[in-house]
């Protein structure tokens, strides 16, 4: 319901203690989104939005909104035509003519461009001028209604259309469309204030084909047929104030399932998948119950919808009262492996419904609170559902991940504060991207950010107890729900936003504890702690002398000062000690409780009170110490490298009941290939009470140990007899029992053991023949007829096992690989793979797991030289139209091929796919895989590394990926991996002078440097500090065919540049169509962002380019002047007369044609 009755005086923000200050001079209270036409054939959308806003200042004459891609036809404010300007500097970050290829420069420019349209700074791409007739109205702070007609044509981001190309109507084909994106991406599909902090109520209307269903946020009020009865309109009402970024949409011929346990929950899936949907969602109500119980708070929305769609952008996307999932999460009751994963996804999305959708954030720097809380309560759900072992294992995994990432790339900062915007204080100078905005973050960084956020929440829990923690959450939720029910008091709505300070305040109010040091350490500061521990036992004093060192100088580390728990298991029991880690104290004396003389008959008490018999013969007779653990509860984000004797690790593995300790000892035992380690590991493997994941990793450790001990190993290959005993028939040990996966623990073990066994190597470093035959027999005798569950994952792992057994081919004189010289073992493997792969065509397995494994195995064979290396097979599987898992596996193989064979052709093929593939996830994934497994890196000589590639990638991140934040950041990551932060080494040296050719499509530099094939994209490069891109201004419109030598001095002379620039600006604007041939030379002029990034780039380059320092400063000043001189102005009158013309300057698409917003009419105004 539009709160039109709102009195404007109420809108005056009180500077209350919560202190949320809107960056905008108005308050949005209600928004209508109406999409009245969706064309699946053309992939287009037509509709309008209407925003109800209340000015908060008297002289409001310009309203900035966010909008990308949308073509805007008409804007009316209170029914009066309004002029508007559309300018999106992120379309092209650095201008086309730029010869700059320095990543630092790009990142700064990109951050500046994003800032320039950042709604959290009150900016936007769309600037609407309030008609002068309304100025008086505005001065009285009366309501304004902004009505915007827009359309979207073939959107490249924001909305994703899936239209299978088969016969039939769109509904019969299963065509659907859904909104997607990373962080706040709603502006891609309708004009809005795309901020998480601007809340309003919503009315959403979607007119769709009668056979389709439109699912969106809030309550479905009614569905009405259109007059011709061919279409119907879905009317949604969302009365809980919600940020535009949490608005979503999914339209398709969905099958509808009302949750049998909770009737207000509705599930949607694509046609034919209803049985899977029933099974998959049958569990959801338990998650609901769990969260509502621990939060003692009802689910905030009156309904909940889950939609499962194809070609998902991410597996789970949570929006207000609905979540969009990948259809690939659906599974039947026969599938074991996918079940926990899918349930985790469901639980994750539900946690985000509370924190993330219902409770939103004030600013980007508060994001960690939401991610932290939702991740933390999701963790609690995991603990309850899968047990403490699984939970602790997960925490350890997450901890290891974040530690590895931070040590590799530098720190992850949860709560970045940007005071003054000075680049010197840049908290993330170690990174190749800015962390100021979510849209500039590397995807990997963002995943790690989320990981760290929930780990830190757990640390807070450790500090203040879970009860208090949940009380805090409850408090946040109840405040928010009180605020949300205040329908007409939009100033109250800021209570629904969480901020770091608000969160910390509630913690101290509820718990009365000061957690400031903890916050300072982990939230306001990046980095993890790296401990090195060793000890000595002083027999005389009966004291354990523990030495704990820290490394806090390496990147990604920080110094830890404070308490540290150490657990010592002695003969008389387990004892906890809390050490104070201080600046200079390395050594800690811990008194021991037990005497080293031991009573052999006595049982040894463990931490959990259990008393066990141990064989103590392996122990050091003088010491009562069994094992020592540092920070056993993972209450510090740390990596511990601790030295203790092998027998201590073995005791720890056998007798410590904590899975984390067991996991740690397994890792440590890899370094101790002794019969004792072997025995300990085998015992663990056999022990059914032991956590299955520990047993699984014991398999791999055992394989490693066996390989290290190969010369002294006795008996059959490791694990073979064990496997035989556990899973093979009693009477005929070479035949595996018919499959029965009722016990999941043994199922996982059965799957893993052969994979680990295949890693065994004999003295010749080959996989023992015995092992290979064993695996082949497992495949041969595999019989799933009596099994309740599908064996597709099991069979896939058997193929993985085969692949693991492959060793490099013995090659004589690099002979060509043919069938004749094929190794007989490989022939057997190949036969199995062929048969499996072919059978998949006839009887496909769930998620095609077997095809995926086969493709990987084939790549392994190629890589090891058994089969000729050839990407053709993978390329055919990578095509659009295969199941996404297959495509990714195939692409991974192509990426690997590109690296190993240094194939320029394949790299081009991949780059092409990044730009053209219909599935955003696949594009993202290719970039991601190329970054993980790069064809070359910055310090490497490679024939692939050439100027054309630099240009190509530069273009990709500069303008080719403007429709997808995630993709652009992926391209930046790849560029960084390949070329590093500074100027790519393959570019010609700047000292050689600069030759510029202004004619397109002709090689300028020495043709030996630039291959002919890609000459279309060539651009000469120049000195990174010289701002040579500006040179292009010298003559952008002349079609001069001559090469022009440009004096470096003129280039550096910014005065010349500016005067030229001004000349250019005074030219009359040309209609977009006519400009097409000049496309490459057109220069977008976005005054504000240009000057901003110029400024930033100048200061951030200090360290890298000392010799250009001088010029930079000069330029900086000039640019400032420039900024003041110019102002955007849009002659809207002309354009409004022909609102549907293709040359409308407001159209995002047109903008791109005309090179990123440069065509705006810019007039020189009075200074």
């Amino acid at each position: 319901m539009p709160p039109t009755g709102l009195e404007p005086t109420r809108m005056n923000r009180k500077k209350g203690d919560k202190g949320f200050e809107s960056p905008r001079p108005y308050k949005l209270t209600h928004q209508v989104v109406c999409i009245n036409n969706i064309n699946f054939q053309r992939k287009s959308v037509v509709g309008f939005v209407e925003l109800t806003i209340f000015p908060t200042v008297t002289n409001l004459n310009r309203i900035k909104l966010n909008s990308k891609q949308c073509r805007i036809y008409r804007v009316r404010v209170n029914d009066l035509e309004a002029a508007f300007i559309y300018n999106d500097p992120t379309l092209e970050v650095c201008h086309n003519e730029s010869k700059q290829r320095n990543l630092n420069y790009f990142s700064n420019a990109y951050a500046a461009a994003v800032s320039a349209v950042d709604p959290d700074a009150g900016n936007g791409e769309l600037c609407i001028k309030v008609p002068s007739e309304l100025w008086k109205h505005v001065d009285e702070l009366k309501v304004l209604k902004i009505h915007i007609n827009f359309s979207l044509d073939q959107p490249k981001g924001g909305l994703h259309f899936v239209v299978p190309s088969i016969e039939g109507s769109m509904a019969e084909r299963g065509a659907h469309v859904f909104s997607c994106g990373y962080q706040n991406s709603t502006r891609f599909w309708f004009p809005c204030v795309d901020s998480y902090s601007e809340l309003c109520t919503w009315k959403l209307e979607f007119t769709v084909d009668a056979a389709m269903v439109a699912v969106s946020n809030g309550d479905l009020v009614e569905t009405v047929y259109t007059h011709d009865m061919r279409k119907k309109t879905f009317h949604y009402m969302l009365t809980i104030p919600t940020a535009a970024s949490n608005i979503s949409l999914a339209i398709g011929p969905f099958e509808i399932l009302v949750d049998p346990y909770m009737h207000e929950v509705t599930h949607f899936c694509l046609p034919q998948l209803l049985p899977l949907l029933k099974h998959t969602t049958s569990y959801l109500h338990e998650v609901f119950e769990f969260y509502e119980e621990i939060l003692t708070c009802r689910y905030p929305y009156s309904c909940f919808k889950t939609v499962f769609i194809d070609e998902a952008y991410v597996e789970v996307a949570a929006y207000a009262s609905m979540s969009i999932f990948s259809t690939n999460l659906l599974h039947s009751a026969m599938i074991i492996d996918e079940t926990p994963l899918t349930r985790r996804c469901l639980a994750q999305s539900l946690a985000q419904q509370f924190f993330g959708c219902f409770i939103s954030r004030m600013s980007w720097s508060d994001e960690w609170v939401l991610k932290g809380i939702s991740g933390y309560i999701y963790g609690l759900w995991m603990k309850k559902t899968f047990g403490v072992n699984e939970y602790r294992h997960w925490i350890k995994e997450e901890l290891d991940r974040i530690v590895a990432y931070e040590l590799k790339t530098g720190g992850v900062l949860l709560h970045p504060i940007f005071g003054g915007g000075k680049e010197k204080d840049n908290p993330a100078s170690h990174l190749h991207f800015s962390i100021k905005h979510p849209h500039t973050l590397s995807w990997e960084y963002y995943t790690m950010f989320q990981c760290k956020a929930h780990l830190v929440m757990r640390l807070i829990e450790n500090r203040i107890s879970m009860e208090f923690m949940l009380q805090v959450f409850n408090k946040l939720l109840s405040l928010a729900s009180t605020a949300s029910s205040q329908k007409f008091q939009s100033h109250m709505w800021s209570q629904m936003l969480v901020s770091t300070s608000g969160f910390l305040k509630s913690i101290s109010n509820v718990s009365g504890k000061d957690i400031q040091p903890l916050i300072k350490q982990w939230v306001d500061q990046s980095g993890v702690v790296k401990f090195y521990g060793s000890f000595a036992f002083n027999r005389k004093r009966n004291v354990l002398e523990l030495e704990i060192k820290q490394d806090y100088t390496s990147p990604g580390t920080q110094k830890y000062v404070g308490p540290l728990k150490v657990t010592v298991q002695e003969l008389d029991g387990s004892f906890n000690h809390t050490l104070q880690i201080e600046e200079n104290s390395l050594k800690h004396d811990i008194p021991c409780h037990s005497k080293s003389r031991r009573n052999k008959k006595k049982k040894i008490p463990l931490m959990n009170g259990e008393e066990v018999d141990m064989d103590l013969s392996a122990m050091d007779a003088d010491s009562p110490l069994l094992w020592i653990r540092i920070d056993p509860d993972m209450s510090v984000l740390r990596k511990v490298e601790f030295e203790q004797a092998d027998f201590m690790w073995q005791y720890q593995l056998r007798y410590e009941r904590d899975v984390v300790a067991q996991q740690e000892s397994i890792l440590a035992l890899e370094k101790f290939p002794t019969p004792a380690s072997r025995l300990a590991l085998t015992d663990i493997l056999e022990q059914e009470q032991c956590f299955y994941r520990v047993r699984m990793s014991a398999c791999f450790c055992l394989a490693k140990i066996a390989n290290s001990m190969v010369s002294t190993w006795t008996g059959p290959p490791a694990m073979k007899s064990l496997f035989t005993r556990m899973f093979c028939c009693k009477t005929c040990p070479n035949i595996v029992k018919t499959n029965n996966f009722m016990s999941f623990q043994s199922y996982f073990l059965q799957k893993t053991m052969p994979v680990a066994m295949a890693l065994l190597r004999d003295v010749h470093n080959l996989c023992p023949k015995e092992v290979l035959t064993f695996i082949l027999d497992l495949i041969k005798y595999n019989d799933n007829r009596k099994n309740k569950f599908s064996d597709n994952y099991y069979r896939a792992e058997m193929i993985d096992a085969l692949a693991n057994s492959v060793t490099p081919a013995v090659s004589v004189n690099n002979e060509v690989r043919t069938l004749d010289n094929l190794n007989p073992d490989v022939r057997l493997i190949l036969e199995e793979i062929t048969r499996f792969l072919n059978m998949e065509k006839l009887l496909p397995s769930y998620r095609h797991t077997i095809t995926v494994s086969c493709l990987r195995a084939i790549r392994v064979l190629q890589k090891n030289g058994h089969v000729p290396s050839d990407p053709a097979l993978f390329k055919s599987y990578a095509e659009y139209g295969h199941f996404v898992d297959i495509r990714i596996a195939a692409l991974e193989a192509v990426v690997d091929y590109t690296k190993v064979d240094r194939s320029y052709e394949e790299l081009q093929w991949l780059l092409n796919m990044i730009q053209t593939d219909p599935v955003p996830y696949v594009r993202h994934k290719i970039l991601n895989m190329l970054t993980k497994n790069p064809p070359f890196t910055k310090n490497m000589e490679s024939p692939l590394c050439n100027e054309a590639l630099v240009d190509q990638l530069w273009k990709l991140m500069n303008s080719g990926t403007s429709h997808d934040w995630r993709l652009r950041c992926g391209a930046v990551d790849l560029y960084f991996t390949l070329f590093g932060l500074s100027r790519p080494s393959c570019l010609p040296l700047p000292e050689l002078g600069l030759v510029l050719n202004l004619k397109e499509k002709k090689a300028v530099l020495n043709p030996t440097i630039i291959p002919e094939a890609i000459a279309g994209t060539q651009e000469t490069t120049s000195n990174p500090g010289s701002h040579a891109q500006l040179v292009a201004f010298q003559n952008p419109f002349s079609n001069s065919q001559d090469e022009e030598e440009i004096d470096m001095d003129t280039v550096h002379d910014s005065q010349a540049f500016i005067s030229h620039h001004l000349n250019m600006l005074e030219r009359p604007s040309t209609p977009g169509k006519e400009q097409a041939p000049l496309e490459m030379s057109m220069h977008p002029v976005a005054a504000a962002p240009l000057s901003v990034f110029a400024k930033e780039s100048a200061s951030s380059k200090h360290s890298e380019h000392h010799h250009h320092h001088h010029h930079e400063h000069k330029k900086k000043k000039k640019k400032h002047k420039h900024k003041h001189k110019h102002k955007h102005k849009h002659d809207s009158k002309d354009k409004d007369k022909e609102p549907f013309a293709f040359s409308s300057p407001a159209s995002g698409r047109c903008m791109r044609q005309q090179n990123g917003g440069g065509c705006l009419v810019i007039q020189k105004t009075q200074q």
Binding site: P260, M262, S282, L819, N838
Partner: protein, 354 residues
Amino acid sequence: MVTCAPPPSEASENREERARAPPTPPRDYKSHRAPRSRTLRQGKMADTAAAAGAGGSGTRSGSKQSTNPADNYHLARRRTLQVVVSSLLTEAGFESAEKASVETLTEMLQSYISEIGRSAKSYCEHTARTQPTLSDIVVTLVEMGFNVDTLPAYAKRSQRMVITAPPVTNQPVTPKALTAGQNRPHPPHIPSHFPEFPDPHTYIKTPTYREPVSDYQVLREKAASQRRDVERALTRFMAKTGETQSLFKDDVSTFPLIAARPFTIPYLTALLPSELEMQQMEETDSSEQDEQTDTENLALHISTDDSGAEKENASVLQQAPSLPGSRNGEENVIDNPYLRPVKKPKIRRKKSLS
């Protein structure tokens, strides 16, 4: 017109002719020019009925000379019915009728009588008898909406025609069961009125000389290699008959890979269990159905049953929030906005007109 029934051979031929060209009625019937109003024409209906009749009789008319006694029987019955229909028509005052119309009426009469028979049989079986009695027939007729009271009067009407009983052709003979060997005579302690022993082959034991393989290992071995052989043969066949890819450039036949073909909707094959798996699942499920699937079925039942009947109850939404977790066996009505009927558009034009 009563005599219009053609001789059997002709009838069957005619039927065939009709089957070939249903829309044109046979010439000879047109010669009977009668007042138009009293001529029975059924147009389309007759055509379809004839076509149906032709289809039904197609199997029989396949053999032109209907020498089969069973066939004869059917024909005779049909002919009698036709005579009845014709006589009733004459009685009703028709002078002529098209062949097609007569056929249709015959068809209707036949099915009516069959229905009486079928239904009467059911009634009699319902009361645990095997022979229908008069009351069964009466109940049947009542059930079929026939006013039984009018029947005696109708039977005694004056102008009724009496039709001679059809000539009884030879009844179909059930062929004698094949016997093999000599039946064993009853031993003395069995009274002779008991049925005879069945044929010896049904109970005589034939000793075999080799034990069937029951060794587990051999069985598994056999099953495995059989499956493998089938799979290999099948995939090879598929590879040979379709496009292939090869891992070795010089050799395309040793490891032929069926070429990858993109799907239009890739997720369907990837996610839906194959029929084989479904079958397997049913088999294993029936043996060990656990609690979960039971509740699932129950839930499923609710959701499908109630989707139609939610209209009456609009107050459920208020109750709904209290539901989570409660196993709602007693909950019968679901109100979900997505299940509500789509509203008709408000007709604005009419309003503006009036």
